[in-house]
């Protein structure tokens, strides 16, 4: 090494140290931390009262960032010492955010605030509560809770009702899926098209949980059928919507703890309802996690408790041949037998006739379906399903029923039956009901 280079290096290293020291001082004094009163809500607008006044006219910029320094879109308005913050998308409850205020006079202020979910339960009415996504707790999407009036006073056994969301269309707008959830939760004062979760929860005075899972679009228009928990949804990796089954379990556990904190103790198992896509979700979920489920009501049942039948290998979501690859444990037949299952359809429902174009379970699945059900015409396919269940020796825990006079829809009479089914199956014994013959 030449002397010149050595001198240059030494100089460089010395200045490096000096610079580092300066940076230490500089960065710690870059932002003046100021205190603020008020709550930063995760899912709605907030008002913080600043303890240090900042002249409105002097403000050159305001931003809010998460702990990683990612900016979050938000409206801001500073009025005297009151800072209005209205995030455009949810923050994560429990996480610390930094609100930065830059003034044209060169000052930089920061306010550290922990975002909170707005869990304010008024037991004299029905409550709809939104819980923000919490990736560190295992769920990347928000969920909603309905806590019906009278839940706190209800001294009977309480099973949380879980209805996986089903918005009917693929969409990359999570807001779109959230609106569907809120409609099914009766949050706008009316409900239509739900699978019965609202009716069961309000009748039995027990909480209802609905996740806000996305149903992403794809180039071919079919979308990823997360709402049906099909094979593609179960095998997708590297996306926020990876393994929504596990995310739902995380939500259930989170909700149970949250409700316990508010004096509402729930049974370990849950009631599940689903119609159409969400009916598939409930069925498929129940096969993987029977130890979590007390009873279900679903409009579909196309998964069977066997690894093969009539020489056809029944892989997920047709059976349990490879269920262990998803759950890490074998099919739990004993727990599965304990689940009371009400499976219904309308005599004019033709949604089950063809292998569903939205469902993407692979060619093997389609071939297996064809071998089991042939041309899949109603009522042959329906009867065959019952035959398989009975043949496998699981008929005891299933009740199948066809409503006359209805297609791919649920009537209020059917909701009544679903409520009665769960009411009858609060205990240890599996009970069947006498359902209505006609839907209307």
């Amino acid at each position: 090494m030449k002397t010149g280079t050595r001198i240059w290096l030494a100089t460089a290293m010395t200045s490096l140290i000096l610079l580092a020291v300066t940076a230490l001082a500089g960065s710690s004094s870059t932002f003046e931390t100021i205190k603020a009163n008020g709550t930063l809500y995760s899912t709605k607008g907030s008002v913080l009262t600043l303890q240090t006044s900042i002249a409105e006219a002097d403000v050159a910029g305001i931003s809010i960032e998460d702990a990683s320094g990612n900016m979050k879109a938000s409206e801001f308005h500073l009025e005297g010492s009151r800072l209005y913050i209205n995030p455009s998308r949810d923050l994560v409850g429990g996480k610390v955010y930094t609100i930065k205020v830059f003034t044209s006079s060169g000052k930089k202020y920061q306010i550290k605030a922990t975002a909170k979910d707005d869990v304010n339960i008024n037991h004299s009415k029905d409550n709809v509560i939104k819980i923000s996504a919490k990736p560190e707790k295992g769920y990347n999407y928000p969920y909603y809770l309905l806590i019906p009036k009278g839940t706190l006073e209800n001294s009977l056994k309480k099973y949380m009702v879980v209805e996986p969301n089903n918005s009917g269309y693929p969409s990359d707008s999570l807001t779109f899926h959230e609106i569907a959830v809120r409609i099914h939760m009766h949050d706008y004062g009316y409900t239509t098209g739900g699978a019965g979760g609202y009716q069961v929860a309000t009748e039995l005075k027990t909480p209802l949980l609905m996740p806000v899972f996305p149903r992403p679009t794809t180039e071919d228009g079919a979308g990823i059928y997360t709402h049906a928990l099909d094979r593609e949804a179960m095998t997708v990796t590297g996306a926020d919507y990876e393994r929504v089954d596990l995310q739902l379990i995380a939500m259930i556990n989170d909700a149970r703890a949250l409700l316990a904190d508010h004096g509402i103790a729930l049974e370990q198992k849950v009631f599940m309802v689903g119609f159409s896509a969400s009916g598939d979700f409930v069925n498929r979920f129940m096969f993987m996690y029977p130890e979590l489920v007390k009873a279900i009501a679903s409009s579909t049942s196309t998964i069977f408790p066997a690894a093969s039948y009539e020489g056809v290998t029944l892989k997920y979501p047709l059976g349990i041949a490879d269920i262990k690859s998803f759950t890490g444990k074998p099919f739990n037949a004993a727990e599965f037998r304990k689940i009371a299952k009400f499976i219904y359809t309308g005599d004019q429902d033709r949604n089950d006739e063809v292998t569903n174009e939205w469902d993407r379970n692979g060619q093997e699945y389609v071939a297996a379906m064809r071998r089991l059900f042939g041309e899949e015409l109603f009522p042959d396919k329906w009867n065959k399903k019952i035959e398989i269940i009975n043949d496998l020796g699981y008929g005891e825990s299933y009740q199948f029923h066809i409503y006359k006079g209805i297609g791919h829809a649920i009537s209020s009479g059917m909701y009544d039956d679903i409520v009665r089914f769960f009411k009858a199956n609060m205990g240890s014994e599996i009970k069947k009901i006498t359902p209505k013959e006609y839907a209307n």
């Binding site: 300066t22 940076a23 710690s28 706008y188």
Partner: protein, 538 residues
């Protein structure tokens, strides 16, 4: 240098790196370390209290790969409700130079390069204007390449403003590219100020927002155009430009009013359903794609609140009677959207005829039906399943008020019925032989008691097939038999027959000229041949 000093240096750098950096480095982590920002010199050398300008760059020395403080585009927050400017996502970082002279933005007095005389701290920011080539999309995220001179600047925060108002947005920098993801629709033609705060400087970019910057006619594009109250529409609309629209012989807009089929006070639901439809999942958009015509669909509301008084998707009487608010005269708003789309396309070299083709089914069919009677001067041909309105004041001894007829059209709209133009509109209307949606007792809620009585008197039945035949007879008796073709598809209830997709193409092809031409329609509702259909535009 002694070994301990080296260790101290290393420890300090590590400390700076892990514990104390309040600002995030903007530049590519793979960039070579720089010793100071090489942007313009400080404009205010009197800033004695300003932090050492070298301090930021020192932090940079330690800020190697993996610190995770710079935003990664793949982690970019999803664009949420924003819809890409083209169906193939991917915004272009290129654009025209910004013209600060045309600024409609920031009147706050924070002019770039000047210090604020009102501050009393004596340490005002150095303000630096960044000259960039780039623009903002009004309804999608945008990317702008920053000048090379910006590389290495340590960023403490961002802000986006229009005038005095903060615009909610997510902003980040990766590889010296600025990513801007606004959470609201921007205003076409407005200049937005984006500020990047470093330790000692406030950088500012001014970017103009565009609804449609470029149209690539070699592919299908979908644009969401935000509401423009100043141009007469208070709701957004979708514009779809199919591949080859620049070379199509059909120089018209195809228009289909949105029909959500459900109520919600949240416009987002209606927007998303309109997006799905406009992208191809509706009769009009699909036909437009086959004929390589541009297509628009409004995003009109259909609120839950007092829903029978707010059935916008049918253009009901209650809706037409609104005299104030965003929902006033949505028929005129649709015309304003048509004009806006025509102007926008003309600016991109696609000049269209004034009159449009229209499609609709059920609620949107009724909208088209009523719109045709109200504004025949805007309509060339219609193909829909929603015939309920007659172009007459009186029928069978009954006076027909809107929306059954034109008796009070002047009072309602200020315009007389335009018979001359109406007679020029080619109409094809259809129903399914099992469709029970037209029963008078069931549709009565959409009408007042008088109208319900009139309908009972006109049809004297609840049999929808008989009602349909009578509609055709009435139109014939009124002398419009040559203008309108009635058709029943067999084997379908209240749904859009796949066969109607073939017929719509056939019908509009036949009715692009001056003459009204009837077609030989398919009878089997479920007939559909994809190969034949997609090549039928040629």
């Amino acid at each position: 240098m002694r070994r301990s000093k080296r260790l101290a240096a290393a420890a300090l750098i590590f400390f700076v790196l892990t514990g104390c950096v309040s600002c995030n480095r903007a530049a590519d982590p793979t960039d070579p370390p720089v010793t100071g920002p090489s942007i313009e010199p400080s404009t205010d050398p009197s800033n004695s209290q300003a932090p050492d300008p070298t301090s930021g760059s020192t932090a940079d020395l330690g800020d190697g790969p993996g610190t995770g403080t710079t935003a990664n585009p793949s982690d970019d927050p999803d664009t949420g409700s924003s819809v890409g400017q083209s169906e193939d996502p991917g915004t272009k970082p290129t654009g025209v130079p910004v013209n600060p002279g045309g600024d409609t933005g920031d009147p706050s007095g924070n002019a770039p390069g000047s210090s604020d005389p009102g501050n009393n701290s004596g340490s005002a920011y150095d303000k630096v204007e960044l000259k960039v080539s780039g623009y903002l999309n009004t309804t999608a995220s945008s990317q702008v390449r920053l000048p090379d001179s910006f590389k290495g600047v340590t960023v403490c925060g961002y802000s986006m403003k229009l005038g005095n108002r903060f615009v909610p947005a997510e902003i980040s920098i990766k590889n010296n590219v600025l990513y801007i993801n606004p959470a609201e629709y921007l205003k076409d033609g407005s200049y937005y100020s984006i500020r990047i705060f470093s330790v000692d400087k406030q950088y500012e970019l001014r970017l103009r927002a565009y609804d449609v910057k470029d149209i690539d006619f070699s592919k299908n594009s979908l644009f969401l155009i935000p509401a423009k109250p100043e141009k007469g529409f208070n709701y957004p609309y979708y514009l779809r430009v199919p591949r080859g629209a620049d070379k199509s012989q059909y120089k018209r807009l195809m228009v289909e009013p949105n029909n959500s089929g459900r109520v919600s006070d949240d416009l987002e639901l209606h927007r998303e359903l309109a997006r799905t439809a406009a992208k191809g999942a509706c009769l009009g958009s699909s036909t437009a794609e086959v004929l390589a015509m541009p297509f628009i669909m409004p995003v009109f509301p259909r609120p839950l609140t007092e829903f029978w008084d707010n059935y916008y998707h049918t253009l009901s009487r209650d809706v037409m009677e609104k005299t104030s608010g965003d929902g006033k005269r949505v028929d005129l708003q649709l015309i304003a959207m048509i004009k806006d789309a025509q102007e926008l396309l003309a600016a991109h070299g696609l000049v269209l005829e004034k009159k449009v083709f229209m499609t609709g089914f059920s609620a949107s069919g009724q909208f088209v039906n009523r719109f045709t009677v109200l504004h025949p001067d805007w309509v060339k041909a219609v193909f829909h399943g929603g015939f309920t309105m007659y172009p007459t004041d009186k029928l069978g001894g009954n006076t027909l008020y809107f929306p059954l007829g034109t008796a009070d059209m002047k009072e309602l709209t200020g315009q007389e019925f335009n018979l001359v133009e109406y007679k020029k509109v080619a109409q094809f209307v259809f129903t399914g032989d099992q469709d029970k949606n037209d029963k008078i007792n069931e549709t009565a809620e959409d009408y007042n008691a008088y109208d319900a009585k009139v309908m009972h008197d006109l049809y004297k039945t609840e049999d929808c097939m008989v009602i349909w035949q009578k509609k055709e007879q009435y139109m014939n008796s009124l002398g419009f038999g040559g203008n309108i073709q009635f058709h029943v598809y067999k084997g379908i209830g209240h749904g859009i027959p796949p066969a109607s997709m073939h017929d719509a193409v056939k019908f509009f092809k036949a009715n692009n000229g001056a003459k009204i031409t009837k077609i030989d329609p398919i009878v089997d509702a479920w007939y559909f041949n994809g190969d034949e259909y997609w090549s039928s535009g040629r």
